[in-house]
């Protein structure tokens, strides 16, 4: 039945096309705007879908030489990488305890972590801003490194707890019988088996930290210390004039790190997203 299966494939593509177009069009549009020369970009008589005057790199050149954009990229990467490492470490320990060890209040603790995971950052940014001021961390990257794990750890713990419960107990118990401590069994037996889950948790952690907006916006005011999300959105817009070419180029380049990770680890992201993701 070659014909009917071909028809089915055609229907699949046709029905998927509007969703794909809706999802990726803004990025195509960013790319187009970032490569067009200003004269054409702001010429209303032109067809906006065409690039007639030739492409230009001037918007990217401006971005990398006349703005703090490279610094923002560096800040974001440093903060996201550090907080991911710390959060995954804490979450592995916590998740192991919740998934494997029997102790009083285990269920209550699991519920507590889950509840914290649901508290949105928009409820916490004001009191945290004051807390950061008290600890003299305002306007430093430390304010972000300290606060991001508070939303990353509950999520990673939640994800890893679910993952650890899928690992059979036998291997670990024979290690314990052989004289391994709990910490030893976790390190040498459970961790190697849990690698896919840990990679997923780390990828999600990094993506969340890299995308974070309201804490960075609230805690950091110096241009050079901003992360890429707030830097591009707040500092590239000067007065009423929008440098649309550079703005679109900046948004696009800033999105690249997570998009590259995403395309390399697509299946991990899908697995993590269905394990209960953080944004919806």
């Amino acid at each position: 039945m070659v014909r009917s299966s071909r028809r089915r494939v055609a229907i699949a593509y046709l029905t998927a096309a509007p969703f794909v177009l809706f999802a990726v069009f803004p990025f195509i549009w960013m790319l187009v705007a970032s490569l067009k020369q200003d004269v054409e970009l702001y010429d209303l008589a032109q067809n906006p879908f065409l690039v007639r005057a030739g492409i230009t790199w001037e918007h990217y050149h401006f971005l990398f030489t006349h703005t703090a954009f490279p610094l923002w990229l560096r800040n974001s990467t440093v903060v996201a990488a550090t907080t991911t490492a710390v959060s995954v470490l804490l979450a592995v320990l916590a998740a192991y305890a919740l998934a494997r060890l029997r102790f009083p209040l285990a269920e209550a603790t699991t519920t507590f972590v889950f509840i914290v995971y649901l508290v949105p950052t928009t409820l916490l940014f004001l009191p945290l801003a004051r807390l950061m001021a008290v600890f003299h961390l305002s306007n430093t990257l430390w304010s972000l490194i300290v606060t991001y794990p508070a939303f990353m750890v509950p999520f990673a713990t939640w994800m890893l707890t679910a993952y650890f419960t899928t690992i059979p107990r036998d291997v670990e118990e024979s290690a314990l019988v052989d004289g391994c401590t709990r910490a030893g069994a976790l390190r040498h037996v459970v961790l190697p088996l849990a690698r896919p889950g840990i990679i997923t948790a780390a990828l999600f952690g990094f993506t969340l930290a890299y995308s974070e907006f309201i804490y960075s916006l609230t805690f950091i005011s110096t241009t050079d210390l901003k992360t890429v999300t707030t830097g591009v959105v707040v500092d590239l817009i000067r007065g009423d004039f929008f440098y649309w070419g550079s703005l679109m180029g900046g948004a696009l380049v800033a999105s690249l790190p997570v998009v590259v990770l995403f395309s390399l680890f697509l299946d991990h992201y899908v697995a993590g997203l269905t394990a209960g993701a953080v944004r919806g």
Binding site: A16, V20, A33, T122, P127, V146, G179, T230, A251, S263
Partner: protein, 307 residues
């Protein structure tokens, strides 16, 4: 079975209570996480409640005022507008994501070569930082250079360019549309994951009994998808009602506060004017939604555990 640590800790007692070694290990593994969450989540939340009951400004002493802020806000026009905007924004966006998410899941469940990459492409709005993607939408909705206007004008649908973000009704539509854009992948992929767990035999049995595709969807797909639907829905209600970046970048709450939502108003009051007491009270109006959603989710989770 007695492990080495069990022997080592056999006589561990604290205040006359014998602690099992496993308990000691568990709490030592949990301690860093619990400390972190207590200091950076529980304490700030408590502090937000405290601030909301004071007249605190950025500097100067704070006086306890009880529930005055909450009560006075309800008599303030800008706040009641913001509250109803938030409800409308949440209901509109969640409903649209629910319906479109189901359609998307059914679309993605089809078999075709390259479907994995189609799923990947559809997920991109979820992966990319919302605030950055919002810049592209701001450009697409620009009053002068909007590509949407260009297309509509060339299709003959409109005669004049539309000020999408400058017209109250359209600005509201725009922020909902963009929230749907960034939230839809989460719905679609989760529904898809639920969809593939439904046994194929049920559909075959349905077909044998003469059920058409619509009947099969209503009586097989929807009921079996209910647990996933409930989780995703509750989750999204919390995340959508507490959204910040979408509105902050796209409209800053304008025009004339018609797209102002709780988080953006709290930010504006707390940081621009330094009125921390009222700002905290505004953001805490999100708390009932959070509490109800959390309560229901925890109950749903318990049921899964027992099962």
């Amino acid at each position: 079975m007695i492990s080495r640590e069990e022997i080592l800790h056999q006589r561990t007692t604290a205040y006359g209570v014998r602690l099992r070694p496993e308990t000691v290990t568990a709490w030592s593994f949990l301690l860093p996480t619990l400390l972190l969450l207590l200091v950076l989540a529980v304490y700030p939340l408590g502090y937000a409640f405290f601030l909301s009951m004071t007249d605190a400004q950025v500097s100067g002493p704070a006086h306890f005022v009880g529930l005055q802020n909450f009560v006075r806000l309800l008599r303030t026009a800008i706040f009641t507008l913001t509250l109803s905007n938030t409800i409308g924004y949440t209901l509109g966006a969640v409903a649209a994501k629910l319906v479109l998410g189901l359609v998307l899941a059914l679309v993605l469940a089809q078999r075709a070569p390259g479907m994995r990459w189609i799923r990947g492409a559809v997920l991109i709005p979820w992966v990319v930082p919302t605030s950055l993607a919002m810049l592209a939408w701001t450009w697409m909705f620009d009053s002068t250079y909007s590509v949407i206007n260009w297309v509509l004008m060339h299709l003959g649908a409109i005669a004049e360019p539309i000020a999408w973000l400058g017209t109250p009704r359209l600005a509201r539509l725009a922020v909902v549309l963009v929230n749907v854009w960034s939230g839809l992948p989460f719905f679609g992929i989760n529904f898809l994951a639920g969809l593939v767990t439904i046994p194929q035999e049920l559909y075959e049995a349905g077909t044998v009994d003469g059920a058409g595709p619509i009947v099969r969807f209503r009586h097989i797909t929807l009921p079996l998808l209910r647990p996933v639907l409930a989780t995703v829905l509750l989750f999204s209600v919390v995340m959508t009602s507490s959204d910040f970046a979408t509105v902050f970048v796209l409209t800053k709450g304008g025009p004339q506060n018609t797209t102002q939502i709780l988080a953006t108003l709290a930010y504006k009051l707390g940081l621009a004017t330094g009125d921390l007491g009222n700002a905290a009270a505004i953001s805490l109006y999100l708390f009932p939604i959070l509490a109800i959603s959390t309560y229901v989710q925890v109950r749903l989770m318990r049921r899964v555990w027992q099962w």
